[in-house]
Point group: C2
Chain length 501, copies 2
């Protein structure tokens, strides 16, 4: 709880640090792709439903002559891909492309998925429509900047007028970036990469149609404008995020997720759980600064808002109910279907609100893996699956964020079946942390903390330094200090507390 | 309740009638724009969350060689305009258009709204961006086919590359059709009009950008692919509906709805209430036939589905909570803001699920007005506002549909604050009807039935005949008979029961 108690009022020091950050990022201070100059301790309003439109700044809208970089946001935007959901819907993709007057299609997948029924169905559907298509199946799991650049170069000579992605988040994210750079052939790769690592240039061109067909129930990438990859040049996990990057259509076909091994169902499902919990508990949109000077600068990760809340809370309830069933019974088609729907709902939620600490801390955890091999993953090299690296810190994270908005943390605990009628507001974080710990234990095969992954006290400094650059998500973390040293201290304590739960 | 008890198993007779209807509409039987050949008594599954993906037909997907016109739907599609919500967001519209690389803009409004701050802000925002724009302010309330054709002809010579609609549903719907026919200059007006009255041609071209800025909290037209108007040649209310007709962006700015008179807030809010109740209780998507042979033929009004349900139920709860406050206190900005959000959420819900009896019956009620003038509407001629004509039959309608899915009707009653813990399933419709009756009475200035509007027994036959052509919504009405005479009988009883509540 200690971290949750810290209060850092952003004074001159903090603002100086942020000014330095800003200068160092060589960006206009009004660009919201930045670390948020005031992501100080603002939790959700005590009763969002009552006060979320009552903020005077918001009511007065733009009529304030102040420096926009100091103004809070007053609006939120809800954008999501069209979603088609149904067992067998995959076969409609050929007709969809014809309806879009498409002729040349680039199908993006990986070598594993290329052998599955999903790709058989897609090939048949495209062939039936007489479409000219080529398949790129060299996508890498946890894509790297160079693997994405290879994919982009592969697509250039073919110059398709549409893309179809068939696979998990890595495949869909790679396809998004193949599509992006096909429309910006002259751009430098770093132009669109999230600040602070990249220039965070907004996407102001209409991209080509992209139809995403997920084969896992996790990332929700079929609905979001986000693509995540390893920036090997900076030894950091980052990405490109803009709502104009989102697919045209997501085809969610439960027949395609039946092939997930139980271990993959578990880790991808834990990603869904954390997407919903983090977006539900992220700082509210109207506490985010700076207020964008142009709507195209409004980030996709804009903080919790009244529409993302609906998606996040529903996805959370569904994940709690159906993930254990989907993991424990590979034949439970209903649970699998509900988890695919939950992944998509959570995708709409966090795609418009954002994620925070679990995801921000997960990138160094996966990247600095001391040698852990997750059970059920047949791979040549050590791997901490994304969902596992996200969920392993969740109890510590929500124990820390609980103080920022007890009501939301209690509502989340209730979604786990906890009777909150007699729980004190001060215990909200603790109660949610306990519910998460129990959920992870009951799910089975989950590490009971960073120690079980092989991390020790000696790794913490490096884990902290690997988290600091995740400005885009840290800015949405309630209760996290602005001042760099204070932030380091909080992250250090979070990693320490995440060693064992 | 009598109507609800009727069970019509679609036998040869019913199918023959539907074959006749089909032939008479001169459409391929696979076109789902039709009256549904089997909108027989299928309510929601008793526990949608449990069985909604368990339907065997769905699980087997398309691998069934049967006549598609007899197959049930197996997928649903969720499409909605991007929504930006915030007080003051209207002023961003100029930058949005510049970001879309637009040069010539057609602004659509009406003479009343043209004098309001919303239009001042829009003119200023477009001027600030140096955009070439012209304002069409001749939109008619409750638009007619000829008023829409005039608007279309007005736009042709200007040939704008984008549209901005500023006003209520009538304005936004008119702008949608100006945009549609700008992209189909060669088309006949009736090509796209909903079957059975029109040809129900699907929209297979990319329309120009349309930004919708609502000034009422009602239709949710800023998010939907629906445009409603009077087809004077047929003396019927109909429209054009296809998801590709939806606006690019809806800018929901609570500053723009502050100008609504209390009576307009009430009637538009009742439209929201019925949008959410009707979409929540519509037949489920996987009971709808025929299964479309091409995804572009999947109707926007596809029946209740797991995503529309989330929107509809949340919108219902918000309307119950905030509509009375918005109506009784013109200064309650928070309630006004929440009602604007509720209207948009309900729009996403019914825009993807549909409405049924309240809306189907409302069109002849408004159209055949015996001379009623609604209090608070300063108009030269008699008027039954849309929301009033929708809500006046609601108690009778939900008493009738209750038997089709008691659980959903009980959940709706609960949203009105009814303690349902000891309510029998058989009483679900009755309990919801009573809750609605009380809600309408407490809201004030609402007619206590058709009698209060000046209708009598002598009008019922004509009201029934005016409802029958609303196939597109009637096909989604749970419990409504397929066989034409039985349907007439049920509608007659509904109008009789709606005389007084």
């Amino acid at each position: 709880m200690a971290g949750g108690m810290i209060r850092v009022v952003p004074g001159r020091a903090a603002q100086a640090v942020n000014l330095l950050r800003t200068v160092q990022f060589t960006h206009p201070p009004s660009c919201p792709c930045h670390a948020n100059p005031s992501h100080h301790h603002h939790g959700h309003s005590v009763a969002p439903a009552i006060t979320r439109f009552a903020d005077r700044t918001s009511r007065r809208g733009y009529a304030t002559p102040q420096d926009p970089s100091q103004l809070k946001e007053y609006a939120f935007e809800m954008a999501a891909s069209s979603i088609r959901f149904g067992p067998g819907a995959t076969r409609e993709v050929g007709m969809d492309l014809t309806n879009m007057h498409v002729k040349r299609v680039c199908v993006v997948t990986d070598e594993t998925v290329d052998k599955l029924d999903a790709m058989k169905t897609v090939r048949a559907a495209l062939a039936q429509e007489g479409l000219d298509f080529r398949v790129f199946n060299k996508t890498k799991v946890e894509p790297k900047d160079y693997s994405i650049k290879e994919a982009i170069e592969w697509a250039k000579p073919y110059d398709p007028d549409a893309f179809v992605a068939v696979g998990g988040g890595s495949v869909i994210d790679t396809a998004k970036l193949m599509n992006l750079y096909a429309s910006y052939p002259e751009a430098d790769f770093m132009d669109f990469v999230n600040a602070p690592l990249g220039k965070g240039r907004p996407i102001d061109r209409k991209l080509r149609p992209l139809i995403a067909i997920p084969t896992t129930s996790g990332t929700g990438s079929e609905t979001t404008g986000t693509a995540i990859f390893d920036l090997t040049t900076h030894h950091a996990k980052t990405g490109i995020a803009h709502r104009n990057l989102k697919p045209t259509l997501g085809i969610c076909d439960p027949l395609n997720t039946r092939t997930m091994p139980s271990a993959v169902a578990a880790s991808s499902g834990l990603d869904v759980l954390c997407h919903s919990l983090e977006s539900w508990t992220a700082i509210p949109f109207n506490e985010r600064t700076p207020r964008p000077t142009n709507p195209i600068l409004r980030p996709a990760y804009q903080g919790a808002n009244p529409i993302s809340d609906i998606f996040s809370l529903n996805a959370l309830r569904a994940a709690v109910k159906y993930l254990p069933r989907a993991v424990h019974d590979p034949e439970d088609f209903e649970a699998q279907s509900e988890m695919l729907l939950a992944a998509t709902l959570a995708g709409v939620g966090f795609g418009n609100a954002g994620v925070h600490l679990c995801h921000g801390m997960s990138y160094p955890i996966s990247g600095q893996n001391p040698g852990y091999r997750h059970a059920g993953y047949e791979v040549s090299s050590p791997i901490i699956p994304h969902g596992v690296s996200v969920a392993v810190t969740a109890p510590a994270v929500f124990r820390f964020t609980g103080a920022s908005n007890p009501e939301r943390h209690l509502a989340a605990a209730e979604a786990f079946g906890v009777d909150i009628s007699n729980v004190k507001r001060e215990s909200a974080g603790e109660v949610l942390a306990e519910a998460l710990t129990k959920f992870l234990a009951d799910l089975g095969d989950q590490p009971a903390g960073l120690k079980a992954l092989g991390f020790g006290a000696e790794h913490i400094d490096q884990l902290v330094e690997g988290t600091i650059p995740q400005a885009r998500v840290l800015m949405l973390a309630p209760g996290l200090a602005t001042e760099l040293e204070a932030e380091r201290g909080q992250l250090r304590r979070l990693f320490e507390e995440a060693m064992e739960h």
